[in-house]
């Protein structure tokens, strides 16, 4: 493969967007978790929820900052590397992203200041409002991004200007709410919640096996396991819903995800597969005749990879192996989180969620499962859309900017180095707080205010005045 500006730009976009999505996925869930904790504290007055809030808001500050700086990069990628795409789709996608800035970014960024620094300056209720504003802001942001991305997957409500070749909207409702939008938005929001829950559970499990467990540890594990057990079944259903819509609108993506070799009326499920010297290019272990259950709504033959062979317009297909394996890894990670959730709830009910055991050793690496599922899920969705940027209308090769391969190689290298430094430091700092647990804080009385979100472990206790002022 020649490393031209196209492939380098694709690699760069994949790299910066994959890095970026880790943080929103985590902060969307964490913002809601914080809002729940603060709400429970206000409601019940129980100290444990306040301690949970003050603990996790420090990690939130770090994750949010990393999400912001990697997000600023994203807002320029379309221009620098995909300028033809930007010119052609600007009149359709522009307003969606514009609305994201206007309705979400300012809300999040501005009230984050109150959330992190306002503890001693506003009353409890107002501080809770600020936390909720940030949580709502993250969800609105996801709404517009999923809307824009879903339009690229299943474009609707538009026409193409015959002179300039530019897209323009004919029906905004159809543009914003395309066929794939609802399932994909639900799927992404649930993904954010379970990703955060898996992290919170893992941090609690770590504290437990290291004998740093305390009352908040117990509560955070209960809440996280409960969230996983409640949401993972919903998430699997949402994923299935998304798959059904994709099958209707992007059958080539489904054929690659499923590894269907031939077009048949009834297909099976390939559990795993390997490259082979046959027409299809793969051999695998297949559970036969599953499609009547999994694709119950399909009314015609299920097209396989033999149909999508790039031989004619309308028969383009995405690269097989990335889509095929990314999908399987995502499903595996999801099943892992489902199991952790049920296991954790069972431990909770039987009263030994804070007794170190096999469950805790499983839950610690399980903290990565959500991120793995988010990344592989997006790879499935985005690689599965290839060779198009706007599915069926604008090819990826026709979208790239007229920049030189050297410039893109430079920027890709710079981003890799910068992100490696920032990511390593950020993860170390977050893990340091998360694993240290609550034993650095007194069980009762004065706690550090969120005025010092980063003053978690290595800073002197602050002046006594500020918490008293807030209480």
């Amino acid at each position: 493969m020649e490393l031209d500006a196209l492939i380098l730009s694709r690699l760069q976009f994949a790299f910066v967007v994959a890095f970026h999505i880790l943080f929103p996925a985590f902060t969307i869930g964490l913002a809601s978790f914080l809002a729940v904790c603060e709400g429970l504290w206000l409601r019940t007055g129980r100290d444990v929820f306040k301690r949970l809030y003050l603990h996790w808001v420090k990690i939130f500050a770090l994750a949010f900052a990393m999400g912001v700086v990697s997000g600023v990069v994203m807002s320029y990628q379309f221009g620098t590397n995909w300028s033809i795409f930007a010119d052609k789709t600007g009149s359709v996608l522009g307003p969606l992203l514009g609305y994201e800035v206007l309705t979400a970014f300012f809300l999040e960024a501005t009230f984050l200041g109150v959330m992190l620094f306002g503890w001693s300056r506003v009353g409890r209720r107002l501080h809770f409002v600020a936390t909720c504003a940030v949580a709502v802001g993250t969800s609105i942001s996801a709404f517009w991004i999923l809307s824009a991305n879903s339009w690229m997957q299943t474009p609707a409500g538009f026409a193409i200007d015959p002179q300039s070749g530019n897209f323009y909207a004919t029906n905004w409702r159809e543009v914003i709410f395309t066929a794939s939008f609802a399932p994909r938005y639900v799927h992404m929001m649930l993904a954010a919640y379970v990703t955060t829950a898996a992290v919170v559970l893992a941090a609690g499990a770590w504290q437990t096996v290291n004998k740093r467990s305390s009352d908040p540890t117990r509560w955070q594990m209960r809440m996280a396991a409960g969230t996983l057990a409640a949401l993972m079944p919903l998430q699997i259903w949402a994923g299935h819903w998304s798959g059904e819509v994709a099958h209707e609108h992007q059958p080539a993506k489904i054929a690659a995800m499923e590894g269907w070799c031939e077009t048949r009326a009834v297909q099976g499920t390939v559990l795993f597969a390997w490259p082979a010297e046959n027409d299809c290019g793969l051999s695998g272990v297949v559970v036969p005749n599953t499609s009547p259950i999994l694709f119950a709504s399909a009314t015609h033959d299920l097209q396989g990879l033999d149909y999508f062979d790039n031989s004619a317009p309308g028969r383009e297909r995405p690269p097989l192996w990335m889509v095929f394996y990314a999908f399987r890894i995502m499903v595996g990670a999801g099943i892992g989180m489902l199991a952790l959730g049920f296991w954790g709830v069972w431990k909770w009910r039987s009263g030994d969620i804070d007794r170190p055991g096999l469950f805790h050793w499983a839950a610690i690496p399980g903290g990565a499962l959500g991120f793995i599922a988010v990344l592989t899920g997006w790879i499935t969705a985005e690689v599965g859309r290839q060779p198009w940027t706007v599915y069926g209308y604008l090819s990826t090769a026709d979208s790239v900017a007229p920049v030189s391969a050297g410039a893109v190689a430079t920027s890709l290298l710079v981003f890799m180095i910068v992100y490696a430094i920032v990511f390593t430091a950020g993860v170390v700092y977050m893990a340091r707080i998360a694993t240290r647990g609550f034993d650095d804080e007194p069980p009762h009385g004065k706690h550090r205010a969120p005025g010092s979100p980063l003053g978690s472990v290595d800073e002197p206790a602050q002046m006594p005045g500020d918490i008293v002022a807030a209480e």
Partner: protein
């Protein structure tokens, strides 16, 4: 309704707000390199920590708004400034995370690294923004609807000059913000740096103004000035813009140095005067380039998105922008007043 014109004004205002607000953040970042102690550095940073994130969002509105309202301009300008933009983004990444990380670093080398990332990133971001501005003014080579130049087209003595100008200008804004938000030794230091930066900015603005004369006759034609003649009618009409800036600069210099002042200026005034100086420069630039969005290639009407897209966004902006301005003002008022030692992350 002339939607492209309305959106051009809105985006110009967003970029102006970015310059005034995050410019001051970047300026404080650069000045924190000269803090006498970690305590003073923390105090300087505490003046901007609660608001920097909201301030930087105006840059996203500038970039995102350009994509949304003028996709053609976005598509032509961004590839043309590929490398300085990369520098700006990398610098903003380091500056942004350093806000948090510098407090988290336990060992001294990492603490020094993130402090360095903070002021180094602040300077590099400011400089890169100035270079981008210079490249934008000097014009971009296009073919059809796409950029057609080379990857170093942005590099010129002029763009380096604008790069330095913007960096010094941000130092001025940051210093004036510190005058407002701090007291005592730190404030006195801010005044000294502010006065020096003001002299630098004045020199730079004068140089940039003269240099634009040579860039394209169309820039100065509007001012009634060209290499061989002057039209007093045109010049007098627009003269108030630089004149107000000059007055503000003179008063600012007195405020910062206390020269010929019967009593000390109120602490809020330097920032307002510095903002006025910037505003005058910005307006002057806008007047020179209007209506070109990609200078001398595409006007705002050439580059605009479809009217239905602009209309939809205008409806949203009409509701959201006042709300954004209101809650931004609220948060600023919440954190009003002098920052004390130990404020911010340690309080």
């Amino acid at each position: 309704m002339d939607l492209p014109l309305i959106w051009a004004v809105l985006i110009a205002v967003a970029v102006m707000l970015y310059v005034l607000l995050d410019g001051m953040d970047l300026g404080v970042g650069m000045l924190s390199a000269f803090a006498a102690s970690d305590e003073e550095r923390n105090m300087m940073n505490a003046t901007i920590e609660p608001v920097w994130d909201g301030n930087e969002t105006w840059l996203i509105l500038g970039g995102g708004g350009l994509f949304a309202a003028f996709p053609l301009a976005y598509a032509v300008i961004m590839p043309a400034v590929y490398l300085p933009l990369l520098l700006m983004l990398a610098a903003l990444i380091f500056r942004g995370v350093a806000f948090e990380f510098r407090h988290k670093a336990v060992r001294k080398p990492t603490r020094l690294f993130w402090n360095g990332a903070f002021y180094g990133g602040s300077f590099a971001a400011a400089f890169a923004q100035g270079v981008i501005l210079g490249a934008f003014i000097t014009g971009i080579e296009t073919d059809g609807r796409a950029f057609a130049g080379g990857e170093f087209d942005w590099l010129s003595p002029f763009s380096l000059l604008t790069g330095v100008s913007v960096a010094i200008g941000y130092v001025l804004l940051g210093a004036c913000w510190l005058v407002l938000k701090t007291e005592g030794e730190t404030q006195a230091k801010a005044k000294r740096f502010g006065a020096r930066a003001l002299v630098g900015v004045s020199l730079c603005f004068a140089l940039v103004s003269i240099a634009t004369l040579f860039i394209d006759p169309r820039v100065t034609e509007r001012w009634g000035v060209s290499m061989n003649h002057i039209e007093p009618g045109k010049l007098l009409l627009l003269a108030p813009i630089p004149f107000v800036g000059l007055l503000a600069a003179v008063q600012l210099l007195r405020d910062l140095t206390g020269f010929a002042m019967r009593r000390a200026a109120p602490d809020w005034r330097p920032y307002v005067l510095a903002a006025t100086v910037f505003l005058s420069g910005y307006l002057g630039l806008a007047v020179s380039l209007f209506p070109w969005l990609v200078p001398f290639q595409f006007t705002i009407w050439d580059a605009a998105a479809r009217d239905n897209a602009l209309g939809l966004m205008l409806a949203g902006a009409a509701v959201m922008l006042p709300a954004i301005l209101a809650y931004t003002a609220y948060v600023y008022s919440l954190f009003w007043g002098k920052v004390k030692p130990g404020d911010g992350y340690h309080a």
